[in-house]
């Protein structure tokens, strides 16, 4: 028995190196810790732990500011990209990223992120997009898709009354200053692994000083969506995933269209199923 134990190799660590404890205040079935794991693991894999400064917005994920083992600034609601701009300009050798939700970035601070992208600030902005204000009770945000039920659109979002959703990733990809724009998702293990690679590429773009990088991650919020936790991933694919298409929207100055991303996603899903059938995802 002892000889077989020594052969066992750790494939997946319980905690990312940059997280102090596994205890957190997120609801069961929340997608934000999954996105955070990818972000923190890519920072430690790239060897940036000692010179990374995080800027957190306001949302559920803000409670991770107590347990993340990084220098961290807490910004006002929606103002994280502006704070990050200041930090990066004063400390050009540091790696600066912001952590924001859709309510924080798209409702409160749309102008901050658009101007930071247009100026081509050399920072990385991370958006955790679940289509609701999770922290304050699950009401509608600007990214809530048409027909989605929230606390203040109980019959579903109606375009004649509530307006149309803002696709922030597509919007930022149009700006000259944006060097890398990607939209990930955490609806299954394969997409979590793919999103982790997007984080890695975004930080590499910042290390090379190419300009603004942006990673949007679609996350589950079963509490805000009034659904059982187990139905969260499928619900997300059927609502948010149908409108906010997963994929790399802008790489090396080339903007990819929704149709191209759709075709890529079909191929990736088939590959991932084969990988899992073989018994392993190598990230």
């Amino acid at each position: 028995m002892t000889s077989t134990n020594t052969e066992l190799k750790v494939i997946g660590q319980q905690l990312p190196d940059l997280l102090l404890t596994a205890h957190h205040h997120m609801c069961p079935g929340c997608g934000e810790p999954l996105a955070l794991r990818g972000c923190l693991e890519s920072i430690s894999d790239l060897g940036l732990s000692q010179r990374t400064i995080a800027v957190a917005g306001i949302g559920c994920y803000t409670s991770f500011s107590m347990t993340t083992d990084l220098d961290l600034v807490q910004a006002l609601h929606g103002r994280a990209p502006s704070v990050a701009t200041g930090v990066k300009r004063m400390l050009p050798d540091s790696i600066v990223y912001t952590l924001q939700g859709d309510g924080d970035m798209v409702n409160e601070g749309l102008q901050e992120v658009l101007h930071a992208a247009a100026r081509g600030e050399n920072i990385t902005c991370v958006l955790l997009n679940n289509g609701v204000f999770g922290e304050t009770g699950g009401h509608m945000t600007a990214t809530t898709v048409l027909g989605q039920r929230t606390k203040n659109s109980l019959e579903g979002r109606d375009p004649t009354y509530h307006g149309f959703p803002i696709l922030i990733g597509d919007l930022i990809a149009q700006l000259e200053g944006a060097a890398y724009v990607a939209r990930g998702s955490v609806h299954n293990a394969g997409s979590v692994a793919r999103t982790a690679k997007m984080f890695r590429r975004a930080f590499e773009v910042q290390m090379r000083g190419e300009g603004f990088s942006f990673v949007e991650v679609l996350t589950m919020c079963p509490t805000g969506w009034f659904i059982p936790t187990i139905e969260g991933p499928q619900y997300m694919q059927d609502t948010l995933g149908e409108v906010h298409i997963m994929g790399e929207l802008k790489v090396d100055g080339v903007i990819h269209t929704t149709d191209e991303l759709h075709a890529q996603n079909v191929l990736k899903a088939a590959e991932m199923e084969k990988a899992l059938a073989r018994g392993g995802i190598d990230t």
Binding site: T4, E7, L8, K9, V10, I11, G12, Q13, Q14, L15, L19, A22, H23, H24, M26, C27, P28, G29, C30, G31, E32, P33, L34, R37, V186, N188, A189, V192, A193, P222, T229, I230, G232, P233, L276, A277, G279, G280, I281, T283
Partner: protein, 92 residues
């Protein structure tokens, strides 16, 4: 208050195994669906938070899908080289 860790059933013939930190699990059941060989089942008892937690049955492949997909950082995944696992299987 210590953490209770469970290591699943018959791991000798399996390619991989997981350690489950049951006391921090919030019982969301995402891992049950995420597991490709379907070897995780929910417990009939609850942890001190009052949630059911996953238990490992025989047949883990060590693919780490549960660890990637767990919002509460419950899993630690181990894998054994394919050759070693096959030899053990023949012996048993």
């Amino acid at each position: 208050m210590g953490l209770r860790l469970t290591c699943g059933g018959n791991t000798l013939s399996a390619h991989g195994t997981v350690i489950i930190d049951t006391e921090i699990c919030k019982g969301c059941e995402l891992c049950i669906e995420a597991c490709p060989p379907r070897v995780l089942t929910m417990s009939s008892v609850v942890n001190r938070l009052g949630y059911q937690y996953p238990e490992l049955q025989d047949g883990c492949t060590g693919c780490a899908a549960c660890q990637l997909f767990c919002p509460d950082f419950v899993f630690e995944v181990f894998r054994r080289p394919r050759a070693a696992a096959a030899t053990t299987k023949e012996q048993s």
